[in-house]
């Protein structure tokens, strides 16, 4: 017992400036976002990773690289306005079909969303290849099962999706608020259809959008 107390006082958390350097080094070394949890684990005991990240973010404002928040993770990314200098690093992205981009948008804006709902919105069945392609790109993953008969699986977007499109969270999707306000993200059933509680479905939808941020953390 005494020993533990001793060691705790012996190894005090380094000063904030030093923590900031450490965070900087760790983030520089990694191409993928590092979660706050992982960062905390890697810093010396007693460090405040969140505060160090905030300091670091400020320090890089206006620089050629920026500290970006991606879901629950953090990563350095080059400044958007300098993309033209990177022709050498540019990767050839396979052009997504219209079906794939629409399906992706529906998953992003309506998540968590079932296959049947995607088909209802597009008015056409979703091909295997489309879902497959989005899985291959690691832009979508399975979400929770819907608590409705049959417990259908749902699809949600991943941290990789947020990273790719430079989004902090799914809440930052362009036009999300307007679409929601216009009722265009509702899962409105056709008139005359018998269906489970409307409120419940809506509530779940909202809850899950928030949720998604948490899930990003786990991924």
């Amino acid at each position: 017992m005494d020993e533990i107390t001793d060691t705790e006082s012996l190894f005090e958390a380094p000063p904030m400036a030093e923590q900031e350097r450490m965070v900087e080094a760790i983030l520089f070394a990694s191409a993928d976002p590092v979660s706050l949890g992982e960062m905390t684990n890697r810093l010396p005991h007693g460090s405040d990773a969140a505060a160090a990240l905030e300091h670091l973010k400020k320090r890089y404002e206006g620089r050629g690289v920026q500290l970006a928040r991606i879901g629950d993770g953090w990563a350095f990314r080059t400044a958007r306005d300098l993309g033209h200098l990177m022709h050498k690093e540019r990767v050839q992205l396979r052009k997504l079909s219209r079906a794939a981009t629409e399906t992706l948008a529906i998953i992003a804006y309506h998540q968590p969303v079932t296959r049947a709902e995607i088909e209802e919105i597009r008015g056409v069945s979703v091909s295997r290849g489309t879902i497959d392609q989005l899985f291959d790109l690691e832009w979508i993953k399975f979400g929770r099962r819907r608590v409705t008969p049959g417990r259908p699986v749902t699809f949600v977007v991943t941290q990789g999706f947020l990273d790719h499109f430079g989004l902090e969270s799914a809440r930052d999707l362009p036009g999300l608020r307007e679409l929601r306000a216009a009722g265009l993200l509702d899962n409105r059933p056709p008139p005359g259809a018998i269906l489970p509680d409307d409120d419940e479905a809506e509530e779940e939808g909202q809850e899950n959008l928030f949720d998604d941020d948490n899930e990003g953390a786990e991924a």
């Binding site: 520089f28 070394a29 990694s30 191409a31 993928d32 990563a75 350095f76 990314r77 080059t78 400044a79 958007r80 993309g83 990177m86 690093e89 540019r90 990767v91 992205l93 997504l96 219209r98 079906a99 981009t101 629409e102 992706l104 948008a105 529906i106 992003a108 804006y109 919105i121 597009r122 008015g123 056409v124 069945s125 899985f135 993953k141 399975f142 990273d163 790719h164 499109f165 430079g166 999707l173 362009p174 036009g175 679409l179 216009a182 265009l184 409105r188 056709p190 008139p191 005359g192």
Partner: protein, 265 residues
């Protein structure tokens, strides 16, 4: 003059036909009936919420009729939509029947308008999404990940996808796995060879090959067949190595073997 007129007439007919076909042939370019409806609705040039569903239904039905006259096969869902729109049209045109409990024509029309608006919104959202700056195109990740590779600590990882695919592979292996025999009822030649190597030490005299069948392999026909075949192959192998001699008095007679002289004692 006459010929020229004729020619003009012909030309315009061809032109009209081409135009009609262009629209129809584009069916391939449409992603289902809803997409086609959305495209048709654009000709009305009004807010999707205020669109005339009646007019839209007529355009769609005309489209389907034209496709039929040109003998173009339409996918079933286009025809289902046509039937539904015809029904909707009649509901919108007829005065509402007070005895009818189903949804009114207006309600159905409003829902269709909502569906079109929602699809349109998602299409625009997709376009906005793809128009965003993208990783690897407009902004970039660290080019070098400094993963120092000196340490040997290994951590195993698997993704949910790995797990599910592994499971799927297992549960469907009967669908596609190559012809392999189930282990339980099959004796490999190696097994037979092992068994016989031990036993031939005791076989000073000619012994029936079938007596070498091990315990538990004599009764089930499938197992007996497998063990016999493997034992026979093993005995040939042992003969080749000069460890045993084989003999058979006539075709289909029993096969006997004994330890080779030189090996005895």
């Amino acid at each position: 003059m006459e010929t020229e007129d004729n020619w003009d007439e012909q030309a315009s007919a061809v032109e009209a036909r081409l135009a009609a076909e262009a629209l129809i042939v584009d069916v391939d370019g449409f992603e289902g009936p809803l997409d086609l409806l959305l495209t048709l609705s654009r000709t009305q040039k009004v807010d999707l919420r205020r669109i005339s569903v009646l007019q839209l239904a007529e355009q769609y039905l005309a489209f389907v009729d034209k496709a039929k006259s040109l003998r173009i096969e339409l996918a079933a869902d286009y025809l289902v939509m046509a039937a539904w729109l015809a029904f909707l049209k009649s509901r919108l045109l007829l005065p509402p029947d007070p005895d009818d409990e189903g949804p009114s024509g207006e309600e159905l029309a409003a829902h269709l308008a909502f569906q079109l608006e929602r699809l349109n919104a998602m299409r625009q959202a997709a376009a906005r999404l793809m128009a965003r700056d993208q990783l690897g195109r407009h902004f970039f990740a660290r080019g070098i990940s400094e993963n120092v590779t000196e340490i040997r600590q290994i951590s195993y990882t698997a993704s949910l996808m790995d797990l599910m695919q592994a499971y799927a592979r297992l549960r469907t292996k009967d669908d596609f796995r190559p012809y392999t025999m189930d282990r339980g009822k099959v004796m490999t030649m190696e097994e037979a060879l092992d068994g016989m190597r031990h036993l031939i030490g005791f076989a000073g005299d000619w012994t029936d090959l079938t007596s070498y069948l091990p315990e538990g392999w004599q009764h089930d026909p499938a197992m007996r067949r497998s063990a016999t075949a493997s034992n026979f192959a093993a005995s040939l192998e042992l003969a080749k190595l000069g460890l045993v001699e084989l003999r058979q008095h006539e075709t289909f007679a029993k096969i006997e073997l004994r330890k080779k002289d030189g090996q005895r004692g």
